[in-house]
Symmetry: none
Subunit: 240 residues, 2 copies
DNA sequence: CTAGCACCTATAGCATTGCTATATGAAGAG
DNA sequence: CTCTTCATATAGCAATGCTATAGGTGCTAG
């Protein structure tokens, strides 16, 4: 089983944990499998890491360093909010590429007991947000901005992870990212109450689309397609 | 231990599970404690619910019905986006008031394996969003709006739950809520350089028409024509 | 009334889990 | 050579989810 070359047992345990965690599709990984794969016995694990969570913490710490390192690679662009955007994207990418690590870090929520990793991620984001605040790009207190962005970021990442790979739609990430960032930024104010169009019939909607199409010609349809499309649109607008 | 009045064992199991879940501060609840409190033995549990998850599913179903019921109490205001806002608030409130139930419902994420509860919540939200789309309040395809809002909603709720009660700041919820809803709504344009206003109105109208067509099928087009028409409509709503 | 039948519950126990009390080995210090 | 210290192994405990099997319990058919 233990195909590892001779390394210090501590390292072999870490390596085994990472490997099993990566191939277990999110199912719980037992200490026995880990020690077996590492070619060690139980007390060795507990001698080095205290308990199972200690081992996972160590594993996560390694993963988190990669995460932080990838954040640091992103040089400041001079536009702090763009840096925040990059950070969001890195966060999502990390979650998608290492879902098991990500779930160990952010997946298990306990009431009234925030995980260390959340605090660490918050601190990382806080740095960038502070820079945005300094240069007057922020609309709300930095702490609020950080919490809102991070909450949405984690929510989106968890949702993407939970979706089958085939139907993952990353527009979800971009859209939500820009939504929360725009909301906390002073660059563009959020307008509130508006004038709803109370009518909801097919005819009215068709007419509206027709009018909109006349003032701007989108490129998604060819000329012949557009011609036919408008013809049908006209027919629909006639009556219902 | 079993202080319950004589009820059918199935009900006593449910009741015991709820009670233990509520008093366990998020720690795992064992089947033995449940059966002990219910005054039953193990096979009874497995006879009625299949396995532990089945029991929790049943518990959650009850909780979810409360959740849905509280949603339904909110009469439509005529402003669909306000209804969406109420729904968000109800979601958060439910999570705060019953964190253990909430965590069973939305807390355990598995890669590529979305939970039923997420799908159900999505369907509930989808209804309201569709109404917003029908009346031209939506900026993006309803499916995208729903996912974005729900992801942020869950993310915010999880974050609030994980925070100590004393320092819970509900502004986080309001802020994020308005951010994502504003982003998907056409009532107040996001100052986003990527989406010029002219095409935006086309997109809005196309989305509204699409939603309207789904709720009433007009007879002016044949089946094949309608199919192609919808295909093009979809392409137009995708934005450019 | 009784025999059969379906449904529900209990006895007892298995395999796996995280973890540990205790012992054994090796390596340096005196 | 002895003694201490660190690291690993032997063996096993208590708790977990779950089940093979058997025992009631009530209903319907004869």
């Amino acid at each position: 089983m233990s195909l590892d070359i001779q390394l210090p047992p501590r390292e072999r345990l870490l390596q085994a944990a990472v490997e099993l965690l990566a191939n277990s599709d999110g199912a719980p990984v037992s200490t026995r499998k880990i020690t077996e794969l590492a070619g060690v016995t139980a007390p060795t694990l507990y001698h080095h890491f205290g308990d199972k969570e200690g081992l996972f913490d160590a594993v996560v710490a390694v993963g988190f360093e990669q995460y932080v390192a990838s954040e640091m690679d992103l040089a400041p662009t001079g536009k702090p909010l763009d840096d925040v955007r990059s950070m969001w994207d890195q966060h999502v990418r990390f979650g998608i590429e290492q879902p098991h690590l990500y779930l160990v870090m952010f997946g298990k929520v306990r009431p009234g007991n925030r995980s260390n990793r959340v605090s660490e991620a918050e601190a990382l984001l806080r740095e960038k947000i502070d820079r945005a605040a300094e240069s007057g790009h922020l609309n709300v207190p930095p702490a609020d901005a950080v919490r809102s962005i991070l909450a949405a970021n984690i929510g989106v990442t968890l949702m993407l992870i939970s979706e089958p790979e085939t139907e993952r739609n990353f527009e979800l990430s971009d859209m939500t990212r820009d939504a929360v960032i725009t909301a906390v930024s002073s660059d563009a104010g959020i307008a509130d109450s508006a004038t709803p169009v109370e009518t909801s019939s097919v005819v009215v909607a068709a007419i509206a689309l027709n009018a909109a199409l006349e003032s701007s010609n989108p490129q998604q349809l060819s000329n012949t397609e557009m011609k036919m499309f408008l013809e049908w649109l006209h027919r629909i607008s006639k009556d219902s």
